[in-house]
Symmetry: C3
Subunit: 153 residues, 3 copies
Amino acid sequence: MRVEKKLQEMGLELPNAAAPAGVYVLARRVGNLLYLAGQTAHINGEVLVSGVVGKDLTVEEGQEGARLSALNILSVLKSELGDLDKVRQFVQMIAYVRCTDEFGSYTGVADGASMLLRELYGEKGLAARMTIGTNELPGGSVTEIMTVVEVED
Amino acid sequence: MRVEKKLQEMGLELPNAAAPAGVYVLARRVGNLLYLAGQTAHINGEVLVSGVVGKDLTVEEGQEGARLSALNILSVLKSELGDLDKVRQFVQMIAYVRCTDEFGSYTGVADGASMLLRELYGEKGLAARMTIGTNELPGGSVTEIMTVVEVED
Amino acid sequence: MRVEKKLQEMGLELPNAAAPAGVYVLARRVGNLLYLAGQTAHINGEVLVSGVVGKDLTVEEGQEGARLSALNILSVLKSELGDLDKVRQFVQMIAYVRCTDEFGSYTGVADGASMLLRELYGEKGLAARMTIGTNELPGGSVTEIMTVVEVED
């Protein structure tokens, strides 16, 4: 339980894995790959960081949202795997950030998620990532992040 | 042919698998995974449900678009697999919905696709899903949906 | 080195694989699948084709951006695989294009990437593709493209 220990040392707590916000499942496994549903900046389904980077929110506030998306990802991993140490590596991350039409420097927002995962898993916490600006996300969330993770047998 | 029988009982017909709308293929297989191209709300390439949820369209009208995207996904699966019963489970779904900048409740739109797949396949019709609001989609379609599906040998 | 030879014959040069523009890795491999990070229309991290199709840019100019995204994808493949001939097939492509809210005909933009890959690899250069319009991309780039590629052992 090394990863959970680290989380505790960082003063962070996993949110409860919230029920899906629609007709879907939170995770699907095929072999050693775990495909996770998109996670917004919510606690128990209630969006905590909402708004548009470059208008309502600074990059730092957006990063807080991304970090919360990552905590929800960890929460689903915990409930799927039982132990967060069973993650072999993060493979793919698609990160959406609500931003204004011309705010080209929003990419740092997604780093809020990746920095947390790197602190917990080192280099294997980093995925091949794509960050996209968009006009709207579920519940008005500033971020939504989808991941594919390779896990132990 | 149980799934196709169900479709018939529901009074639904598979559209013809339309030619790709550009320089790409409709599906790629790697082992037991089938990666499908994005499908808009079209019949034979002509977009039937176009517009923006929260401006031109209600959530219910958007769901009709999502359902049509799902029928096109089934159409490609039929032409790739010969038999829709060869689907083992839906793994990943990325659903885009055109909506206004502040219409945070558009996520129900994608349920239009997922509910059809659940009716046909039960729980295994549900994927790890991400729903994203966006300003524009090909041909002005209200929805575009990309899926990864696990299939039988 | 057949593919690189073709590139030379076409008068094209691979850009240097630029460092990631944030906290992520450019590629992750799981078995024979290589997951690549999103690539904008940049050279060495500097976006060369920026703007919005339908407002600042024509479809043809957008295609130039997509082509540059593809060259960066090839660049990462070269640095991961050593030899571009080790690509077995392109599996999945998610292509984002900045465009105005009503420019439904932007899909041709992504063809700029796919046509280059088809010239180099033939049919196996084509992926199951999804093209999405969006309001903003990193650094203001007109395109950002993420791919999954199947590679030789």
